[in-house]
């Protein structure tokens, strides 16, 4: 009883929930075994992530290219960006990919938030993140500082000895590492000098442009030296406040919106002592007793991506067109590869506003209507609630695993069992309101389908 709740909790926080088949399998495993499995799968997947082909020449001699040619490249790259968005969501939803690695990648994507213009730079940055997502935090920060898309996004290409541009240095300190209140304006200026010349070359690869680098002496966070960018990162990571800042963010993302300062401090000390080993930190969290406390379960509001991917996993949704998936993300307020700004998505209650909440609550209904389940509702469907865009969703869903799993039970046990699989909070109090809505189903199987839809429409389903 308690164990199945813990497994559900673990897979929602460390991944995107389980489909019904996985749910059946994991019931036979211990929680510790599940944690080990998650990390083993992630390790394997992160080693596979290789560099993807760089579309050669999209910056090369850009000035010499004709306007038409440039437009063509831009259009192709925009298309690639949409495809990558679609592919990433599909990857998160695929049962055979590493849920933990993708969840960590999603977390770091929001942390090192970068708005992409080119598809190929997005693919490369995501692979860079995957490589280090559970590795060492310093390696990750350094790789991000040299990442072409980030260099472009935070204007480090314009950061030159003669005219430093502070944009990257400011965000490095404020958002990526140590956080506000732990540095002075002067530190930003000095850090900016250290990152001068960290540019990209004609092929769009990281390149240290010596003649634009300021080799002079810098004073940064109380230390003096001829620091370059890497030295700045080292100094920032020497500050315990950096471990504290990162652990606090990870705690709020993976455990609870409300930070527990004592636990965070313990985590931060260990993270610092481990020389910023991310895997170790995450293992500590997922094996901690307090992670499974009732006060930490069902308290997080799913991000739109978590919600969407979770639905895709449970209902085996396959979208036929990237633009549908993009439209849903836009309507729900979170578009992958397009964070609102360098601070990433604010998360928590910020996901929920009047319009977005109603859309989230209706999402599964829309999907069921747009696809062909048992009931073909589309042709004669003239109700005015119909959402034109949603109506055009081209997708298939497969409810067989859920139906097969839960039809085995006596019908009076289905409500509780399905609720336990789909929801982190009990909804027994609503049973009498919910069940009448399933009564139009003429067979036990169709009643399970309807019950699935309604349980996934509850406010409780918005939580994990």
């Amino acid at each position: 009883m308690e164990k199945s709740k813990n497994i559900q909790h673990l897979y929602w926080r460390a991944g995107f929930g389980l489909n019904a088949e996985e749910w059946n399998v994991k019931q036979g495993l211990s929680v510790a075994r599940c944690v080990n499995l998650l990390f083993a799968e992630a390790k394997e997947a992160s080693q596979v992530a290789a560099n993807t082909p760089w579309e050669a020449g999209h910056r090369k001699r850009a000035k010499k290219l004709s306007k038409a040619k440039k437009q063509k490249i831009r259009a192709r790259q925009q298309e690639l960006l949409k495809t990558e968005n679609f592919n990433w969501i599909a990857k998160m939803a695929a049962p055979d990919s590493s849920a933990l690695l993708e969840k960590m990648t999603l977390f770091w994507h929001g942390h090192f938030a970068c708005v992409f213009k080119y598809g190929s730079t997005a693919i490369n940055q995501l692979n860079t993140i995957r490589t280090h997502a559970l590795g060492n935090f310093k390696d990750l920060v350094l790789a991000i500082a040299k990442d072409p898309a980030m260099i472009k996004f935070l204007n480090n290409q314009q950061n030159k000895k003669r005219s430093p541009n502070e944009n990257f240095a400011r965000e490095l300190l404020e958002l990526f590492t140590i956080g506000r209140g732990n540095y002075q304006e002067k530190d930003i200026k000095e850090a900016a000098r250290a990152f001068t010349g960290w540019h990209i070359d004609q092929d769009g690869k990281y390149y240290f442009r010596e003649k634009h680098h300021d080799f002079g002496e810098k004073q940064f966070m109380g230390q003096t030296g001829n620091f370059d960018g890497e030295a700045i990162i080292d100094i920032v990571l020497q500050q315990k406040a950096t471990a504290q800042f990162i652990c606090s963010k990870i705690y709020r993302y993976f455990v609870n919106d409300i930070p527990d300062e004592k636990r965070i401090k313990t985590l931060a000390n260990a993270f610092y002592e481990s020389n910023y080993d991310i895997e170790k930190l995450m293992r500590t969290i997922f094996t901690s007793k307090w992670f499974y406390f009732k006060s930490n379960r069902g308290t997080k509001i799913k991000s739109p991506i978590e919600l969407l991917v979770g639905i895709m996993r449970s209902l085996k949704v396959e979208f036929k067109e990237p633009r549908t998936v993009l439209f849903i993300q836009k309507a729900l307020g979170q578009i992958l590869l397009k964070p609102p700004n360098v601070a990433g998505w604010a998360g928590g209650k910020n996901w929920i506003d009047n319009s977005t909440l109603m859309l989230r609550l209706n999402m599964v209904t829309y999907l069921m209507m747009a696809t062909e389940v048992d009931f073909k509702v589309k042709e004669e469907f003239e109700a005015s609630m119909r959402n034109k865009r949603m109506d055009k969703i081209k997708a298939t869903i497969d409810l067989a695993p859920i139906v097969d799993t839960f039809a085995k039970l006596p019908e009076d046990q289905v409500f509780a069992a399905l609720g336990k699989y789909l929801l982190p909070i009990e909804v027994t109090a609503l049973k009498n309101q919910i069940l009448p809505f399933t009564e139009v189903g003429t067979t036990p199987k169709s009643r399970i389908q309807l019950l699935t839809m309604w349980l996934m429409s509850l406010p409780e389903y918005q939580l994990c």
């Binding site: 944009n167 069902g298 319009s355 109700a383 406010p459 939580l463």
Partner: protein, 396 residues
Amino acid sequence: MDRRKFLKSTGLASSALMVPAFLKAFSAPSIGGSRSGKKLVIVQLSGGNDGLNTIIPHRNDLYFKLRPTLALKQNEILKVDDELGFNKALAPLRSLYDEGLMSVINSVGYPNPDRSHFRSMDIWHTASNSNEYLSTGWLGRYLDSNCDACDTSYHALEVDDSLSLAMKGTKNAGFAMSNPRQLQRTAKNKFLRTIGSHAPHHEEENIAYLYKTMIDTQASANYLYQQSKVHKSKVKYPQNSFAKDLKQIAELITADTDTKIYYVSMSGFDTHVYQRSKQDRLLKNYAEAMAAFVKDLKSNGLLDDTLIMTFSEFGRRVKQNASGGTDHGTANNVFLMGGKLKQKGFFNAAPKLSKLDQGDLIYEIDFRRIYASILEDWLQTDANAILGRKFDKLLL
């Protein structure tokens, strides 16, 4: 399964649509609510608009010296007086200015300015000091102190999918909506209405918040949709999303909607590189949309009851950077528009470029003095209570 039965079960079939909307959406309003009621519209320019290339000190040598390639040329400036002029991209605003429908307040800011977008925006939203962190916004606190009897949250409406911090109070919060029609449709789901009317009590904060938002929305969506259909604007607005949002607001105001405060944003002003073309395009979109909005309200006789304030989280550094752009700065101009401005035109003198603090403008007017004036003189409430301390009002 029978599809009619299915439709009926979802509450989406047309026969199920006759369910009356929650009646409380039509109950007597406690604030605003009549054509004579004052309306406040807040326009946010996100990213830090460069005020010096918006309102140009065209006789100041320092401006041209510090911005060798970024300064506007004399023929790109619509000169208003000996000191100041509009960026040519703001041509539509120039005529509002001439008609006395606009006021420009220069050098607005706050002590110890913060150059982070997020922090500075929060300071503007919460009306805090720069070393103080508040979790409620100034308009949210207005709702808290003036909206005790409010049943619904659309007394303050943000035309967006998400609600700004400015609109969040402790007890009350504004309403966020980008498309009334879509909202009304999603709020009709009969299953969710049933659940809403049997909502279980929850202690945990997030689940309680989800239920509260769902119930609020179900109660308001139909009213707002009906209101959005009452009046169709006859004024031609430009084709962009900001203009569309303003049109939505004009239609709701004209329909005498029980909403007192509207909030709308436009983004893209963070011009670190190649600023000229980017900012000019943004300013043009802004000016055209605002001109249409003002014209719309005026033609319906509603401009005298409307006050529009435009702000940005900070201005930009006086000296241009090496990338043809500007970095984050401090004090900036604030625009007011409306038919009842007490002080039309330039409210105060041009910013002093000869006296900078680390290359940045020094503020002369604390933005909270503008808030105080709006709260006291326009919304007729106790500003001290909402702002937490006394700020000298301005004659706006």
